[in-house]
Symmetry: C2
């Protein structure tokens, strides 16, 4: 089984393990809805790829760690889509959880997924239990206060915040946790694996900002133009579309350089480049728009 299939099956099994005759059926359905079918699973794939590059001597634990990262990501999407935040009707091409079920179930689904993320790591087999404490600490930093996803979402509720502070917490922190936790799960504490995730996280956020301006909502599977309509900070707004695409390229180069020396470094660098091509293709509308100076000319022509 390849890494992608292993991951999907581990995610599925982890949810199944939480079901029994006493579990409330709508909540269980909503959890499935929030996790399957997935998006690109970029964070857990990255975590697993780092674990593999570091030797992957505890494969069950590395898989559990990667799943945990994905559950936390899914939780953040469900809560982020809530009416009080983005009020998004669609996610991954289908109704968001509060639309498919209701708002209460959406709040609980996010909560359940956060808990499941921790449960799956705590339940995985790992000989060196110090890794358990270290991974838990790492993922908590990625999602909690002061600098994780929840803090990032909270910056949306502040009147003063810098773009970098906001994006670093809202996206960068979980990418940082993805690479670092993959290394910890495989016992590599010697290299700075967090930097790779941090830079990739920023690149991913910039790509997301670009897509929010120019992508087709049907192809993207979620509404576009959200940053503009919700008055949210965005690198495409700050740098212009062309500047944002250049910045994305710089970040990808930086990410490739950030891969520490290790047995699987070459494979990992290739994965980074393949991801960059998927996010902002070398040819296509995102590159054509390089010549456009201001994003507002694209979104609101004339």
């Amino acid at each position: 089984m390849n890494a992608e299939s292993l991951l999907e099956s581990y995610l599925y099994k982890s949810i199944k393990n939480c079901e029994n005759k006493n579990s409330p059926p709508r909540l269980i359905s909503a959890i499935h809805h929030a996790v399957f079918p997935g998006g690109a699973r970029i964070r857990p794939r990255l975590s697993l790829a780092v674990a593999q590059a570091c030797g992957n001597d505890e494969p069950d634990f590395a898989l559990a760690t990667a799943c945990s990262i994905e559950f936390l990501h899914c939780a953040s999407l469900v809560h982020d889509d809530l009416p009080c935040f983005d009020n998004a009707d669609f996610r991954r091409g289908k109704p968001s959880v509060h639309k498919a079920f209701d708002e209460r179930i959406a709040v609980l689904t996010g909560d359940a997924l956060i808990i499941l993320a921790y449960r799956v790591v705590a339940s995985a087999s790992v000989k060196d239990k110090n890794r358990l404490a270290d991974v838990l600490h790492c993922i908590s930093n990625g999602v909690g206060v002061p600098e994780g996803i929840v803090a990032g979402q909270a910056w949306e509720c502040e009147s003063k915040a810098t773009l970098r502070q906001y994006q670093k917490a809202k996206t960068g922190a979980l990418f940082y946790a993805a690479t670092l936790s993959g290394a910890i799960a495989s016992g590599d504490l010697s290299n700075d694996w967090g930097l790779l995730g941090e830079v990739l996280g920023e690149a991913y956020q910039v790509a997301d900002d670009i897509r929010d301006v120019i992508a087709n909502p049907t192809e993207l599977g979620k509404p576009t133009g959200q940053d503009e309509s919700l008055g949210r900070m965005s690198s495409a707004k700050e740098l212009g579309l062309s500047g944002a695409v250049n910045y994305f390229d710089d970040l990808i180069n930086k990410a490739v350089l950030a891969v520490p020396d290790c047995k699987g470094a070459g494979k990992l660098k290739k994965l980074v480049q393949a991801e960059s091509q998927r996010l902002v293709p070398k040819k296509g509308p995102m590159r054509v728009s390089r010549s456009v100076k201001s994003p507002s000319r694209v979104i609101f022509p004339g």
Copy 2:
């Protein structure tokens, strides 16, 4: 320092450890608002009391475990008060988090508290790391799916649910986790410490149902009559007020009998009895109303 002060100071310190110059200030204020001043702290006190009855050979870990239980409880209150659930304006005698801040901050505060609960346990010092995995598993059962608090709240969103199934998950599960985690934190895996928590949790829920019918909202610090107005299941509705008070007494007797043989058993039994007196005093309006057959005669006279 006594157990109560130790607990308050550990809760405070755990939140402070999550603050730095990058943390979003409104979210941090809201977390403090949700945790301080506390209610009776019955769950963490119970967890600590069991840890002490079992020898308390890892006091830092037992304290962290107790705090974790309280953070999870506070998280559930914040989310339970949200407009889409109880829409409660008051909690513990002051505005609920979504009233004092806003709905977005309330969603994030609950999320941050769940994460903090896990972080505090993972960060505590403990020589035997197996206890870490066991405590994490135990608290996850108390709050997650299939039978923890989140599942309990989800039963409110189902058309078919039994009162026992609902209360067991919504309240009993975290009490079960409180006593069991206290024992695990002190290395006692030999006795059935969960039963004590389960029975006390049910007693606590019955007392809460009784108070919802007859208490004064100002004294209680939150709105009353919620079960009736929200159409929620309640033992006072099912058994009548007199029946509910009798059932409460039976449960307290059962809880005292459920305390396993151990060095601190006597002290623990006294704590259970003191709590029962605090919840449903032997003299007072809750006992006077024993003669009333139906709760509806009390709430809606005539």
